[in-house]
Symmetry: C2
Subunit: 273 residues, 2 copies
């Protein structure tokens, strides 16, 4: 079984790099100010940077461009830059270009600038992200009509999360709408972002650390913990964000450890350096 | 393989009762006047009634009360009454009462009167119907929050259709949103309406005809044709409504016959009496 945070802490040894999920680990999104930092997380990020450990932020956030997202986090007190963030939209753009795909976008308005360089005329695929309020019936139906009208429908999903936690409660994530479109069009989506192996591997490559020497820290038992473990990394679940006690009985995924929050994880890891 | 409509017409022999799907068979919904009748269908219904065959309309329509729906069809020229219609909402009400369930409703505004007698305080389940424009992100999220907050989530879906055809194009049906909620909450919906066996059986009972002597006529290869065949009925697919040529290569379901439209089906069946 998984260790609890402190104790022997064998899970925290031999580490050279950390991948941090953002939403639910650094902060909870939503509310007037765009979210609330989780106690101790800003200080924990500063400690990681002071320690000499490699660090990469690995997020499925698709409600804003990385620029806007990072600015919000800086405003909440985090030491973070755009160059440190691995996010689904740029990965999707690489894939679209490689395969000559022209997307119809079912995404948040604020994400659209990430696709500025991409030809969107006469679409031959659909890209779905966390569109939130843009998931109106009319918009979802329009994406459905594009897909069902294609001889070979291609659906690219920026993540497959079920839900996330905002300050005012749980919110449906992109995965639910991915499933709706998959069912309506009888297609299987290609997922860009966590838990896709290629996504974790690109984050590791950007950090220059092999999976055996890296730890993923996230609040999503399947997409953070399970996905990272599939890549040969260790993975720790925080008891913040969308964490629910029943996650600890997940039938498929067992984290290498549970910690109460990012601050505790970082303290344990740094104590083992 | 399935026969085409005319020809030997062995599929049309020994019939005592017909179940007719409505949307895509009698008329195409949508547009200013609430829809357009399919050529020859009103006359075909009159011929069935004149023939002495038993007749029942078996619909998954959940965008209006049966009263309102039937009034619309009468306005389009159809000889139809509320007592002749088997629809999901009354079946759902019976199930809710039997099991002491209090629903949160994610349905079309016009369907709500069907649930007038049902206690909806302090909900312990969600009922999802074809809510159309009511499938806003806020409404779907609210239903999600009710479900995820229940110790044992119960999701009742009024049908599982993928899409239907309106006069201005294809529209996402309840099944897509059922799948979204199933995935987000890790539950399996209980389907009331076609293709549920109990639903076809109640229509047959209301008609007083055993399945071996009944034919279902519909445009949905899975929910009409497949569902009826699972009950031991014959089933014919019309090439109207949501019919698409690729339906004729469906990997699981083979209709007993294809016909161009309801008028042709009825002519063949009456010629065998």
């Amino acid at each position: 079984g998984a260790e609890s945070g402190r104790g022997m802490a064998a899970w925290a040894r031999g580490v050279r790099g950390l991948l941090l999920d953002i939403s639910g680990v650094l902060y909870d999104s939503g509310g007037g100010g765009g979210g609330a930092p989780i106690a101790g997380s800003a200080e924990a990020v500063r400690k990681i940077k002071a320690s000499g450990l490699k660090l990469r932020f690995c997020t499925n956030e698709t409600q804003a461009t990385r620029e806007k997202f990072v600015k919000k986090l800086q405003g909440l007190g985090f030491d973070i830059s755009v160059a440190e963030v691995t996010a689904p939209a740029p990965a999707a753009c690489r894939l679209l270009k490689e395969r000559g795909l022209r997307p119809h976008l079912l995404v948040h308005d604020d994400l659209i600038p990430e696709f500025a360089e991409i030809d969107k005329t006469n679409p031959n695929c659909v890209v779905v992200g966390d569109a939130a309020e843009n998931f109106s019936y009319a918009n979802v139906n329009e994406a459905f009509r594009v897909l069902i009208g294609l001889e070979k429908p291609v659906l690219i999903s920026l993540g497959r999360g079920r839900y996330y936690k905002e300050t005012d409660g749980l919110k449906l994530d992109v995965g639910a709408y991915m499933k709706a479109l998959e069912y309506a069009c009888d297609v299987e989506a290609e997922v860009v972002g966590k838990p896709a192996k290629a996504f974790f591997e690109s984050a590791l490559a950007e950090m220059g650390v092999p999976p055996q020497q890296a730890i993923m820290i996230g609040d999503d038992i399947v997409n953070d913990v399970g996905g990272a473990q599939q890549c040969g990394m260790r993975a720790v679940q925080v008891r913040t964000g969308k964490y629910r006690p029943c996650d600890e009985n997940h039938p498929q995924v067992k984290p290498d450890a549970y910690v109460n929050n990012l601050a505790e994880a970082v303290d344990v890891i740094l104590s083992q350096l």
